[in-house]
Structure formats: C-alpha cells, structure tokens
Amino acid sequence: MTNEVSAPVPLGLLAELTHRCPLGCPYCSNPLVLDRRDDEIDTVTWARVFREASALGVLQVHLSGGEPAARRDLPEIVRASREAGLYSNLITSAVGLTPHTLAVLADAGLDHVQVSIQDSDEASADTIAGYRGASARKHAIAKEVVRLGLPLTVNMVVHRANIGRIGSMVELALSLGASRVEIAHVQYYGWALKNRAALMPTREQVDLAVAEVDMLRKQHRGRIVIDAVVPDYYARFPKPCLGGWGRRSLNVTPAGKVLPCHAAEVIPGLEFWNVRGHSLAEIWRDSPAFRAFRGTDWMQEPCRSCARRDQDFGGCRCQAFLIAGDAGATDPVCHLSPKHALVGQLAEAREEAAYTYRTT
C-alpha cells in the first residue's frame, strides 16, 4: 500500500477463552470449525495479552467463548485482567457457572456479567439452546449475579421463533434484576448463516419489533437500559462493523490468533498473526489482516466517494464477502450496493427447517 494508515487506539478486546460450550444455539457466532481444547492458550499467555492490551490503550476486556466458565482458570484470568487495569466483562451462558465460582470471580474484581437467555418462554428457550433445563439454571445464576452486587446485562438473541415476545423478554430481564438488556437480532455469520432460512424473521415482524423496542424504552426509562442490535438484512444502510476495521477493537481466539472481528476468518487470503509469536502491539499495528481494511484507501465505489464512508466504514467486510463475494466491496446490505437486491432475496428464502445445532 502506498498510503500508510496509522493505527488508531483500540478500546475493547474480545477474549474468546474457549470454544467449548454445553449449549448448541443454532446462531452461535463461533466459527464452524472450532478451536480444540489442546490448542487453547494458557493462563500466563492471557495475562500477558491483557497487559499488552492495556498498554495499547484497551479499556475493556470481554471474556467470552464458547462458555468461558468451561475454563478452570477463569478466576485467575479475571484477576489478571484486573491487575492489567482492564474493565472485565464476563459473557456467559451461565450453564456451567456455579454460585461459588461466581463469588470467586466477584472477589477477583469482575466488573460486569452478561448472561444470555434464549427466550422468555422457558420451553422454547431450552429448545433453542438445545439443552433441557438451561433456562432454570440461567435464571438462578442471573439472580445470583445481582445478589452479589454485580451489574447484570441479559442478552436476548431475537429471531423468527421468539421475535413476538420482546416485551416479555424485557419483563423477564427486569424480574431477574438486570440493569441492561440487549435485544440482539441474529447476525448471519458462522452457525447463524448455516441456519439463516430457519431463523430469518419477516420484514413485518422486524418492523413491529423495532417499534416495540422504541415503546419499551420509553416505558422503562430509568429502570432498565434497552440496547438493540438491528437486523441488518432489512436495513437501508449497513452497520458500521465494530466501528471500523482495526479501529476500535480486536479479538483473540482460544488458540491465540488475533482477528479484527470474530467472523474475519471467513475472508479468504487474510493473514492473521498469533499472540504466541508476536506482541499484541505488533499485531494491531502491522499484521496484514488488520491493515487490509483499515482506513478508507481500500474502498471501491460507491463507498469511496460516499458521504457516509467515515460513518459506516463500508459496512461489514465479512458480509461483503459472504453475500457479494468480494470482501472489498460495499456491504450489500447498503441500498447503494449494486448487489443489494441479493440481500432481499436471501431474506425471503425462509424455510420451516429444523435447526442445525452447533456441535462441540
């Protein structure tokens, strides 16, 4: 490249501690080929990654997975993130997490817990998770989070089977003591892409859901924060994926590979570096994968001359590859993309099919 784009200062680190998980959610954001337990980086390496992240300017670490509680060294990992000066956020299914472990994590300095709940209807939730009894355990652990004085976010992933229950999902989050709830429409990558026809809601359902969230926000103002992740197949403009490629966040896989976003490995030809061989600062600044779509020099038309190019950054590179077949193209979700009609066709290709559950 002729024009150097200097590396900005990152804010967040998504630490995928493991891909192991007891649940089988058909929209799991993990890749179809999962990292094996034998390949997971160890406690000491995570502690180094956290120190390097903090030195780079990262403020928050999101401890995720898979199910992070599947790692026995989770308390040491939380402690290491705190010692590195990071704000720690545990993103958990709550299955596999005990009240005892939770208390240890709280003592280790954990700042916040996000518990995923698959539906407000318990039977439906267990079906979606592919795990009987998951709901009851999740509710119990969520209440325990609040009892320990930790702030709780409930994450509700929304799709065709549960999109009519957003109001009761927010009620459930309130009853568990959550201060924040995420209404996250499925994003179609990884396992969700595999299950797209079975998960995709109709446009009418999505319009109703968006209006309902607006109403619920007003109704519950000051009681609970409602954040929504928009369903982008029905949008006019693309989402500004992670606030720009290699601009605000980075993702470390269980095996130590550093990605600009969790889905980035679907893009062919990108060279990712591993924390086993490089410092995080080197990877952030110089690794080919981070430099590939940083800034705006890589853009094609219509992005290149678009007034919104510094606002949505051309949308999602992974989606551009997955739908338009070119990771450097405009995200086809954008109505200005020449491939935009494809997105509508894909959204219409709904099918009452059984889920392909995530396997471990």
Binding site: V9, L11, G12, A55, L56, G57, L59, Q60, H62, G85, Y87, N89, D111, H112, Q114, G149, L150, P151, T153, S179, R180, R221, G222, I224, V225, D227
Partner: protein, 97 residues
C-alpha cells in the same frame, strides 16, 4: 425531549454503582467513564462532579463544594450537576442512597 426520570433532593447521596468506574487513560487521552459494555469520554466538569459522588456527600454538599472550588454561581452549578446525574441515572450509571 423529556426531563430525566430521576428527581434528586438536596440530601440525596449519589454514587457510581459497582461496574461503573471513572478512570484516567493516557492512551485514550483523558478521563473515561467505564460502564457495562460502554465507554464514555468524560470532560473536566463531568470528572469534577463524579469525583465528588462518593455515596457519602449529599447533593447540596457537592454543589456547595463545586461552587466554592470554581467560584461559580450556586444555581448554575446545581443545574449542571442535576442534569448530568439525571442523564447518568437514565443510563443506569448512577445510584442514589
């Protein structure tokens, strides 16, 4: 736009709840308020107000202290403080004892 949902009396004792931390970051170029999955840049006025939200000082005491420290009219400071704390409470970033 409606006013904040929170009504603060003079003897209210505001504080940042667990999971909300004010921090200085050299790399980010100043003060930041860290919250559940969110980060806010904090300007100097916000920092001065939040440093005083300890859970022991009352709203009246906080306003008096700021008025003295910045030799500014009390009513003006009171309005700024109530506005900031109200917007933080809306975002669940503030608790009041």
């Amino acid at each position: 736009m409606e006013g904040p949902a929170l009504h603060l009396s003079g003897d209210a004792r505001p504080r940042l709840p667990r999971g909300v931390r004010l921090m200085h970051s050299e790399a980010q170029g100043g003060w930041v308020l860290l919250a559940p999955e969110r980060v806010f840049k904090a300007d100097n006025i916000t920092v001065e107000i939040l440093k005083r939200c300890t859970g022991t000082a009352t709203l009246d005491a906080i306003v008096d202290d700021l008025a003295k420290a910045f030799t500014a009219p009390r009513e003006r400071i009171h309005a700024d403080v109530v506005k900031l704390l109200g917007s933080l409470a809306d975002k669940k970033l503030l608790e009041v004892d």
